[in-house]
């Protein structure tokens, strides 16, 4: 499950339905679970008194699934749960965690991920006239687009 010695926290994380691995690197705990039960995760973190800090979405392809990372913050450490959408959707956590409400609306606007059960699924940042997923295609293959340095002064 993890190369580090298990702690009560890592053991609790590992017990959440759908968690495949828990590891520690770059000053944070990283929890992987492609089929993670996100509602069970939300309930477990609420029970531990750990707040939701943010949600990151990374589209895997223009029309495919999306990697979703839930970042919970316990003040001394960040715990990131990595999972993926199923048929373009994941259960909304907004009814359980207020901090999820705007984050899910923004992800829906940018990447067309659906969050069934969201109590207020209105656009957050998407201008009227744009379809959901307005930046999905543009943010799918980012690494190839990054340019080499253009300033000779900064290259050695």
């Amino acid at each position: 499950m993890t190369a580090d010695p298990p702690t009560p926290l890592t053991e609790r994380l590992a017990s959440i339905n759908g968690v495949a691995s828990v590891s520690f690197h770059n000053r944070g705990l990283w929890v992987d679970g492609p089929l993670l039960d996100v509602e069970a995760m939300a309930d477990a973190m609420a029970g531990l008194g750990i707040r939701l800090g943010s949600i990151t979405a990374i589209p895997q392809s223009a029309k495919g699934e999306t990697t979703i990372i839930y970042h919970f913050i316990s003040e001394s450490i960040i715990i990131s749960f990595k999972t993926q959408t199923r048929n373009g959707a994941l259960a909304s956590l907004a009814g359980r965690l207020r901090a999820a409400a705007w984050a899910e609306r923004e992800i829906r606007d940018l990447f067309a991920v659906d969050f069934p059960g969201h109590p207020n699924p209105l656009p957050l940042i998407k201008p009227s006239g744009f379809a959901n997923g307005m930046l999905r295609e543009a943010m799918c293959g980012p690494a190839a687009l990054a340019k080499s340095p253009t300033s000779a002064l900064r290259v050695k």
Partner: protein
């Protein structure tokens, strides 16, 4: 009679566009909804199209007020992936600029707040003080905003004569202690508009997951500088300021006392700045494949970054969660049941940054 009142997006109190739709009965606010996104810029997408040098300049433009916070937090995330430890002198300089930026931001907020309650002479006093901070930042970086101090691996500019800045800090502390803080905390005009207004209880603060001065003014003792110290905060020592009341006055007091703590931190960092290099390496940084999360205490609260690298010339993904993104929604909880006339100062007491929110 019930009616809906739209405040914004062209705003009478703030220079940035956001909208609060309040549903009122008579003069009392019954509920509210908040709209943002009027100036969305897609910076996270643009970050994926720039290399590791260019992207720092882009990220610094997330916000004009806490620009240094964004650049330094992003750099710290990239440094975490790359295993880069920045020189101690660079960590001191980043801390000095971060705390000057907090002073600048809190003074800007205090001036806007003074203007919102019709206290124009206090606004002038505060903005006069803010000029001193901006002059100091200009002397250090060459810029009054967007300081361009950070690069992956350290800082781009040195502070040549650190002790020369101490007299300015002494003068600012004197004005703040003798004029600004007493006026904000004891003047009847200020108290009448801020005490018991716009309350957010500790339980509500936790429920809405607010951060920064908004959380600390509701008795939630969270501050990244204390909870997960970075740069040289552990060396300098740090005292977080909290208040239990949760009203606008508490937010005023927290920010006012934080300014004194920022002056102390800048003074200590200037006095103890060690000799040494400014950057761990020169040229294009090499960031291997990996991912990292990073958070710092921006003036408005916790700034959170997720950065992923695929080992290429630039980042594969940059996720930015600004403090305003989680603080602004809580305005709904603060204003319910208040007179409409309090809406302006309550939303200003959150110090909402729309530039940050709309990235």
């Amino acid at each position: 009679m019930a009616y809906t009142f739209p405040l914004g997006p062209y705003h009478p109190a703030l220079e940035e566009p956001f909208k609060v739709n309040v549903q009122c009965k008579g003069e009392i606010i019954e509920s509210a909804t908040i709209e943002v996104g009027f100036s969305y810029r897609g910076i996270e997408m643009l970050a994926q199209q720039r290399n590791w040098i260019e992207v720092v300049t882009l990220i610094e433009r997330v916000c004009g007020i806490c620009s240094n916070t964004h650049a330094s937090t992003f750099c710290m995330a990239a440094e975490s992936i790359a295993g880069i430890e920045i020189p101690k002198r660079a960590a001191h300089i980043r801390t000095i600029v971060a705390e000057l930026e907090r002073l600048h931001s809190h003074l800007l907020w205090a001036g806007v707040g003074a203007e919102d309650i019709g206290f124009h002479s206090l606004f002038m006093e505060v903005f006069n003080l803010r000029e001193r901070v901006m002059d100091m930042l200009e002397a250090i970086s060459g810029n009054r905003v967007n300081y361009g101090m950070n690069c992956i691996g350290g800082v781009l500019r040195d502070i040549a004569d650190p002790l020369s800045h101490l007299p300015v800090l002494d003068a600012m502390e004197k004005t703040m202690t003798n004029i600004v803080i007493p006026t904000f905390t004891k003047n009847p005009t200020v108290l009448a508009r801020t005490r018991n207004v716009g309350r957010l209880s500790r339980e509500q603060a936790i429920e809405w997951a607010v951060v920064g001065p908004v959380a600390r003014a509701s008795g939630v003792d969270i501050d990244v500088r204390k909870d997960q110290p970075y740069l040289v905060y552990a060396d300098l020592g740090f005292t977080a300021v909290t208040r239990p009341e949760g009203d606008v006055l508490a937010r005023v007091v927290v920010r006012a006392l934080e300014m004194l703590e920022s002056i102390r931190l800048v003074r200590e960092a200037l006095k103890s700045i060690p000799d040494g290099k400014l950057r761990a390496s020169e040229g294009m940084p090499s960031v291997p494949a990996g991912e990292a999360t990073m958070r710092t205490e921006a003036p408005r609260g916790e700034a959170f970054y997720y950065v992923a690298s695929e080992g290429g010339n630039g980042p594969a993904r940059v996720k930015i969660r600004t403090p305003s993104f989680v603080n602004i929604p809580a305005i709904q909880a603060m204003i319910t049941g208040l007179p409409l006339a309090d809406l302006s100062i309550v939303q200003a007491s959150v110090d909402p940054c729309i530039s940050c929110t709309d990235r």
